[in-house]
Amino acid sequence: MSTEAASADQLIANEWSGGTLPYRVGHRKLGMWLFIVSDSLTFSALLVGYAYVRASSDNWPTPFPFSPSIIFSTVMTLCLLSSSLTMVMGVSASARGDKKATRKWILLTILFGLTFIVLHLIEWRHLINEGLSPFSLPKEWVKEWPGASPLFGATFFGITGLHMFHVATGAIYLAVVAARVNKLKHEDVEISGLYWHFVDLVWMFVFPMIYLLSIKA
């Protein structure tokens, strides 16, 4: 009944004995974690959908030559991985209470994120110019991989498109955090970091599944 009279020890009680803060995280951070779990399921469903279509097709295009396509997407991967490192530096600067350094690291993170988006859009434009669309393959591809599923484009643009949308939203989110960093608490900065690392994590599955499994023989 009377929680107010309880001591701080009871509010953050032992591992499984409840209390007001059983996870010892604020409600926003818990909320972000739950969002990340549900968003992972969205991406898992898309990747499983891609695997389903690929496994049930007679043939599947493997259109990415090692050079330049794979090297290009490896550079994109490096951008995202490095942005995760700068983000984690930002969060640890924020843990020290160094707002200026936090802002600097977050802006660097945004820069890496934007580089990723620009590189990705260049790649998209290249594929679209080749004649790839969500529901049809370029004519040369149909000749090269007879009976290939026309859904290649749907899976490619769907998965990488949703991921790119997450990167773009993340960049906006981080820009807001960087702008208001003096007003925000440390935990809020940390939460934005959680989101950004999640975007990076998704790419760790998209990159091998979409690109490395479709390298031109």
Partner: protein
């Protein structure tokens, strides 16, 4: 039930949660004069209910405080980053030497899961959170993702079954011009 007063200073409290006067710390009494029931046993050595310390804020301070050890060190983060780069390098190398698709898929998935675990454990510092949070988030996700696998038997069944008509029309249209 809700109306309770302090017998010493006559302050009125409408909140069920308050069992002691927040000003002088004396036990509150119900309107009928009976002692308000104290639900939670007070720790003997420090009786916070007798002070005006905002307990909830103390707890939140503890939450923020708990993050001090979060940071790990920048050295740790850089070494995790180097590991991630190295594993990515291995993946790209495997792509370069062209393994067959099934073997490639198995290895890539394995490496990706290791990379994901590194990111979640160190960059998202789940390793430094309470075990209860880890056990709330991770098993749910793992089980749900495994449940998605029920679709695969159907996809293997429909191989050689699905796009045959489509592919023949596609080759026809490309031969026409």
């Amino acid at each position: 039930m809700a109306a309770r007063t302090c017998p010493v200073c006559d302050r009125f409290y409408g909140d069920d949660a308050v069992t002691f006067c927040l000003v002088d710390g004396s036990a509150l009494v119900n309107p009928d004069g009976s002692q308000v029931e104290i639900a939670i046993e007070r720790p003997a050595e420090r009786d916070l209910s007798l002070t005006q310390i905002p307990v909830k804020e103390m707890a939140m301070a503890e939450v923020e405080h708990g993050d001090e050890h979060f940071a790990g060190s920048n050295k740790l983060f850089i070494s995790v980053w180097v590991w991630l780069l190295a594993l990515t390098g291995v993946e790209v190398y495997l792509g370069y030497i062209h393994l067959n698709v099934q073997l490639m898929l198995t290895i890539l998935l394995g490496i990706s899961i290791i990379k994901a675990a590194l990111i979640v454990a160190y960059f998202m510092h789940l390793r430094f959170e309470r075990l209860s949070l880890v056990l709330t988030l991770v098993p749910i996700l793992a089980v749900c993702i495994c449940l998605l696998m029920v679709f695969f038997p159907d996809s293997f069944r429909s191989k050689n079954n699905r796009y045959r008509f489509q592919s023949s029309t596609q080759t026809e249209t490309t031969e026409e011009p």
